[in-house]
């Protein structure tokens, strides 16, 4: 084994994650390798420095209010879904009614009616096309059932 092979063992040795046998193997290498000894000392120095770091703990009030912060988001999430669905339904219904009125109105110019119908047909084609594309890619997606 060369020194790079001992790199992983060095980390585990430093963090006391080696079993007795691995520890013995690494210590034998360490006794004969001044480069690894030096590097290990450097990493020990780094650990001593990071050990000195102290976190600033938020005050208790933050923890007491933490759940309500999450709950408010959940509640708002449900609110947004309901709002969006009802807004879409109302828009579709209102739009349908307005178009119906317009088409039935004999005073409205026939060109305007034709343009409106063409606009609706165009939007419908675009919508169907996008949905079909999404459905196609969803069916082909090999990772859609992957769960972590």
């Amino acid at each position: 084994m060369t020194c790079p092979d001992y790199v992983d063992l060095m980390m585990a040795y430093l963090d006391d994650e080696l079993d007795c046998e691995q520890k013995k193997v690494f210590e034998e290498h360490l006794a004969s390798c001044p480069v690894c000894r030096g590097e290990l000392e450097e990493f020990k120095r780094l650990n001593r420095i990071t050990d000195e770091v102290k976190f600033v703990e938020p005050e208790e009030r933050i923890w007491n209010l933490y759940w309500s912060g999450v709950y408010n988001r959940i509640e708002r999430g449900v609110g947004w879904i309901l709002f969006s669905i009802s807004a879409i339904l109302l828009l579709i219904y209102g739009g349908f009614k307005a178009i119906e009125e317009l088409i039935k109105d004999p005073t409205v110019d026939i060109i305007l009616k034709a343009a409106l119908l063409a606009l609706i047909a165009g939007l419908a084609i675009l919508l169907v096309s996008v949905l079909r594309e999404k459905l196609y890619f969803w069916k082909k997606d090999r990772y859609k059932d992957v769960r972590r």
């Binding site: 992983d8 780094l46 770091v53 102290k54 938020p58 923890w63 759940w67 999450v70």
Partner: protein, 211 residues
């Protein structure tokens, strides 16, 4: 604004682990947690509360280590819990909650960092390029994370300059005090990968501190 605790970071992390405990049982799945998740799946937001209370400190401190300031850490960790609740049906019932949740939290933190870093770089377009390259990400505030101390400020500034993978390794090992097995579980990799990533992360941190 904050109470500055004198206990060392590692002691905090050990206490956190003692309090939260369950996910470290790698092969056992806590029954209470399983029940809470089952009820959350049925749409009970209240059932999700014990899970949030159990992991909130751990989530907050991980986010703090990754994004580097209190407000963002609090906001992102709460957002991660909200997203976890919304996607709870995607959690495999046989898997522990925390490793799955960690993926959501990590992705949120890193995408937030990328967004703020882009914004920061745009604001600094007229500043010297080398200065931008050596700067810590926007809003990464060493004073907000650690007590005012020259060594600590240097450590956090250096951590702020690490790339995502290296920073993640340093935060999980040095500041959350997780074992290799636990790190491997939440990063969805092998123990060997943890060791080599940790070596590279520590080497980079050492270089930055020696600068």
């Amino acid at each position: 604004m904050y109470i500055k605790l004198k206990s060392q970071c590692k002691v905090t992390a050990l206490n956190l682990k003692k309090n939260f405990g369950s996910w470290e049982k790698l092969n056992g799945f806590c029954t209470d947690e399983a029940i809470a998740i089952k009820q959350s799946r049925r749409g009970s937001a209240k059932a999700f509360e014990p899970i949030v209370r159990k992991y909130m400190k751990q989530a907050y401190f991980i986010a703090l280590g990754l994004v580097g300031n209190h407000e963002d850490a609090l906001d992102l960790s709460q957002e991660a819990f909200f997203r976890a609740y919304s996607k709870i049906n995607q959690l495999n019932p046989k898997r522990n909650f925390f490793p799955w949740f960690y993926q959501i939290l990590k992705n949120l933190c890193f995408s937030h960092l990328r967004k703020t870093s882009r914004h920061h770089q745009q604001n600094l377009e007229e500043v010297d390029e080398a200065q931008v390259a050596n700067s810590t990400p926007s809003r990464f505030d060493p004073y907000a994370i650690a007590e005012r101390n020259e060594v600590e400020e240097r450590v956090w500034t250096a951590i702020g300059q690490l790339n995502e993978k290296h920073r993640e390794m340093i935060v999980l090992r040095h500041f959350q005090n997780l074992s290799y097995e636990e790190i491997a579980q939440i990063l969805l990799c092998t123990r060997g990968t943890v060791m080599s990533r940790l070596y590279n992360a520590r080497k980079k941190l050492k270089e930055l501190l020696d600068k």
